[in-house]
């Protein structure tokens, strides 16, 4: 997986391992979930209303574009959640949902 964000420093932090859509991914302590995910992939979720993938927009908890889910179904806002070792996340909404008519 190639990432979207590029780390420019602060890379001496301890490594933290998380799982995204079943794949193990390495993050750094102090990363937000959004950073952890976007350093190794291009998006964090599929838009429910359009054909495109999303990767967050405001990074300050205002736009709600970066919602992701734990594999237990809990919804998290990726830009304001700190990564924790062992987290397991999915980029598609787990609960039953209406069809995305744009897809």
């Amino acid at each position: 997986m190639n990432g979207r964000f590029v780390r420019l420093g602060e890379t001496a932090r301890a490594k933290v391992s998380i799982v995204i859509d079943g794949q193990s991914v390495e993050a750094l302590e102090g990363d937000t979930l959004l950073t952890a995910m976007l350093c190794s992939m291009r998006h964090v979720r599929q838009s429910e209303f359009g054909v495109e993938k999303r990767a967050g927009f405001c990074l300050m908890g205002a736009c709600q574009d970066c919602w992701v889910w734990t594999d237990e179904g809990e919804r998290l806002r990726a830009c304001t959640t700190v990564v924790e070792a062992g987290m397991s996340l999915v980029t598609t909404q787990p609960e039953a949902q209406w069809a995305n008519l744009a897809l």
Binding site: L8, E10, E29, E52, G56, F57, L59, M60, Q64, V82
Partner: protein
């Protein structure tokens, strides 16, 4: 009489100076903040374990940032400080808050709202693609996470933040492909008399632009954004724009930071039933305040960029003034006369704000030019054409009516990022003055809450 209960919302420059002023008067305030740490957005603190020094993080503002952080650290134990707490409603003179899914309500004798601002956005075709971020987001990625939003970044929009973030990216070693400013260079010259109100800030701004030139960053003025070119799977691939001479150009990039100055977060003021007035200069509705920050509602005070975007220095002053106003109104201060210097300072800041609005103009005319297929509401993918249809076919001429019919502004950002542009589109399509379109009403909860949380409070 017991000690009055004063609740502050927001621990940025305004909120921290407000708390400090109240403590100096012997009152222990409650400070509600959504962030994990104090500092707000502009002086956002990096997480524990990060090691970059102040000079690297905050540049010319390093000393001010450090002073604000150290002030808070010194006072923290004396404040009823509640981080990671969302203030989501104001009802019946109670502030409703939630932390970790647990909701409660606070009574107050005085409520001082310092909620800050977010980027002000104008849509462009393709802005829904992954890799489009607000300018503020681009800055947060760098400041708080030491990341660039992409391998090759274009910054587009207008305002001081455009140049500040671009130069911070260059300094941090990111690749900045271009800085595209929608404002004309001439506007800056015409705004000079007002911008001279803060010569020091003007000089810092010029130094930023010079540093970008030295770094060889491509810079254009007076551009018109045409399209963010991208694909649904991979996101942003390029940006197309019309140059001042009318030529269409395309620059390859995998990320875009976009913004047109800032818009105050006014939802809580709205829920507190504060009166608003139309600000013709910046083309938006803003809460009314007096010189000290008193709103139209007794006991409710507004300070910082959440009511008037004066920047961090102006926010620190506004926080102090609002604290004094509350103290005076509660009969705890006789200092009205001693505030003259602060008030004078704020008038100077406001003159500069007017200068910035003239120099870096909100591109209202772009709204009318957006193609019908351009997405206005990023949350739910609603197009300019759909918004125009409810105006044309269903007669909506007012912001909330158009929202009800089109759902533009009804998504999970609650109109923060589409509301101002939508109002411009409505005004243009309905041929009414923008003022008459009104503004989106603030709705509780001001941010999405879990249903379980709401039930807990009943």
């Amino acid at each position: 009489m017991g000690e009055p209960r004063i609740v502050i919302v927001g621990a940025g420059p305004a909120g921290v100076r407000c708390a400090q002023t109240l403590l100096a008067a012997g009152i222990r305030p409650t400070l509600i903040d959504e962030g994990r740490r104090d500092g707000g957005q502009i002086y956002r603190r990096q997480p524990e374990g990060f090691t970059r020094p102040y000079a690297k993080l905050y540049g010319t503002e390093a000393l001010r940032a450090q002073d604000l952080h150290e002030t808070f650290t010194r006072l923290r134990a004396q404040i009823d400080y509640r981080p990671q707490t969302l203030a989501w409603n104001i009802w019946d003179r109670k502030l409703h808050i939630v932390r970790d899914g647990e909701a409660s309500a606070l009574d107050y004798d005085a409520l001082i709202l310092c909620p800050g601002a977010t980027d002000r956005l104008m849509p462009v075709k393709g802005w829904q693609f992954a890799g489009t971020y607000s300018l503020g987001a681009a800055q947060i990625a760098l400041k708080s996470q030491a990341c660039s939003i992409g391998c090759r970044v274009v910054f587009m929009g207008t305002g001081p933040l455009l140049y500040l973030v671009a130069s911070q990216y260059v300094q941090a070693g990111a690749q900045v492909a271009a800085v595209l400013d929608t404002s004309a260079a001439g506007a800056r010259i015409r705004a000079l008399p007002k911008l001279l109100a803060r010569f020091d800030v003007l000089r810092k701004g010029r130094a930023l632009v010079a540093s970008l030139k030295r770094a060889g960053v491509q810079m254009h003025h007076c551009i018109e954004p045409v399209e963010i070119v991208g694909t649904p799977g991979q996101g942003v691939g390029a940006v197309r724009f019309r140059t001042a001479s009318g030529k269409i150009e395309q620059i390859d990039c995998d990320a875009i930071g976009m913004g047109y100055q800032l818009r105050p977060e006014t939802q809580l003021a709205d829920l507190a039933r504060c009166a608003f007035r139309f600000d013709a200069l910046t083309r938006q509705w803003l809460p009314q305040i007096d010189e000290l920050g008193r709103s139209s509602e007794p006991g409710v005070y507004l300070a910082g960029d959440g009511v008037r975007v004066l920047g961090a220095d102006g926010a620190e002053n506004a926080g102090r003034l609002a604290a004094h106003a509350a103290l005076i109104d509660l009969g705890r201060s006789e200092q009205a006369g001693a505030l003259d210097a602060l008030k004078r300072e704020q008038r100077r800041m406001d003159r500069f704000r007017e200068g910035l609005a003239q120099a870096f103009v909100w591109p209202a005319q772009q709204a009318a030019k957006l193609s019908d297929e351009t997405i206005v509401c990023r949350c739910e993918g609603i197009t300019a054409g759909e918004l125009r249809r409810v105006i044309r076919d269903e007669g909506a001429q007012e912001a909330n009516r158009a929202k009800a019919l089109s759902r533009v502004g009804m998504g999970r950002c609650q109109g923060r990022y589409c509301g101002h542009a939508a109002a411009e589109i409505i005004a243009d399509a309905a041929r009414v003055p923008l003022e008459q379109v009104g503004r989106l009403r603030g709705q509780a909860p001001v941010k999405p809450l879990a249903i379980a949380t709401v039930e807990d409070t009943e």
